[in-house]
């Protein structure tokens, strides 16, 4: 059973997209959602602890999603954190790079509510919650 009170961090430089993802998560029953506007902002929030899932865009200023993912995987206290990429980047090489960097899922924008739910469930299943 998925713990719906888990803390989720939504990372995207577009406030509209953060709002959409947050609303979809609320619709799915996840109420504890925080937002970060780029990879740097996200890392500093993640380091303060308490997050159990990250949903992140790729193309962002300051620190992009892939770099952020690499830094998460390289940090002792964060490396097991599940990261779902939600991005408009749709080249094969992008998907391969994200997978190799340790992404737990990859959703291409524009996406549907059903796809987001499906990918989240897949992540939770693999985590064996």
């Amino acid at each position: 059973m998925v713990n719906k009170s888990m803390n989720i961090l939504v990372v995207d430089d577009f406030p509209t997209m953060r709002r959409i993802v947050r609303s979809l998560l609320r619709e799915l029953g996840f109420a504890n959602v925080e937002e970060a506007e780029d990879g740097q902002d996200a890392l500093s929030k993640l380091k303060s602890g308490g997050f159990e899932l990250v949903i992140s865009d790729w193309n962002m200023p300051n620190l992009d999603g892939l770099e952020m993912l690499k830094q998460i995987r390289g940090a002792d206290n964060l490396k097991h954190l599940p990261v779902l990429m939600v991005t408009a980047e749709a080249k094969k090489e992008n998907i391969i790079a994200a997978a190799q960097a340790g992404a737990n899922g990859y959703v291409v924008k524009p996406f549907t509510a059903v796809v987001l739910e499906e990918k989240l469930n897949k992540i939770f299943e693999k985590l064996g919650r």
Binding site: T16, M17, A88, A97, P110
Partner: protein
């Protein structure tokens, strides 16, 4: 462009005949072309011109996406409005009947029928509100265009900045010292930083055209690729 740079040999002091004018213009064009080639500006202009078809594709992508989003939202509203009207009119009808009955509570059978109708209405409410909620969610999802077009607009701004840089460069190389040169140089310097910054190959933003090589066109293809890779 200042005439001081491209000095056309003055061949005669008498008023120019038509042939003279044509010849002078011909000389001017030739000199301009030669000096552009010498300075390597023809390449710069070519580069600027090459950016235009791409810019056109991006603009038409923005047009399509915004139109689709508007239509998606309006369609959802068209579907939700009748549901809201139904909820409202049925409630108003029942409320009126209850009002009448309370004013003259005579027929018990009438009250019973009214209670049954009310119950039926109450049972229908969650279904109708759920449908409306779905449409609200659809309207929300339609706003995802803002992220996608926003990314493309940012790229467009870079393209326009690049064009401005190339054009200013052409001007700058053909304007004599003094005059507006200082101002041109300042603008070129301002744009230089942006010109140098090249996007990394993994940051391409949304696909503005379908069917490009090595590009995934659906979430299913993403899933298949990941499955092939063993993820």
């Amino acid at each position: 462009m200042s005439g001081k740079v491209l000095k056309v040999p003055v061949q005669t002091q008498t008023p120019a005949s038509n042939d003279d004018v044509v010849q002078r213009i011909g000389n001017l064009v030739r000199m301009l072309r030669d000096s552009m080639r010498e300075l390597g500006l023809d390449k710069e202009v070519e580069k600027a011109a090459k950016a235009i078809p791409d810019a056109r594709d991006r603009l038409s992508y923005i047009g399509t996406m915004t139109e689709q989003a508007a239509e998606r939202a309006l369609n959802a509203i068209d579907r939700a409005q009748p549901l809201q009207s139904e909820l409202s009119s049925r409630a108003t009808g029942l409320e009126q009947r209850w009002q009448d009955w309370f004013e003259k509570p005579v027929e018990l059978a009438q009250a019973r029928e009214l209670a049954l109708d009310t119950r039926e209405y109450l049972a229908a409410v969650p279904g109708l509100t759920e449908s409306t909620n779905k449409e609200l969610l659809e309207i929300m999802m339609a706003q995802d265009f803002q992220d996608l077009t926003g990314q493309v607009i940012k790229k467009m701004i870079d393209v326009v900045r690049g064009l401005e840089f190339q054009l200013l460069q052409v001007l700058l190389d053909n304007v004599p010292d003094g005059g507006g040169r200082g101002d041109l140089q300042r603008r070129v310097d301002e744009l230089k930083g942006a010109e140098v910054r090249r996007e990394a190959s993994l940051l391409n933003g949304p696909q503005i055209k379908a069917g490009e090589p090595d590009v995934i066109n659906s979430q299913d293809q993403v899933d298949d690729l990941l499955a092939d890779l063993g993820f």
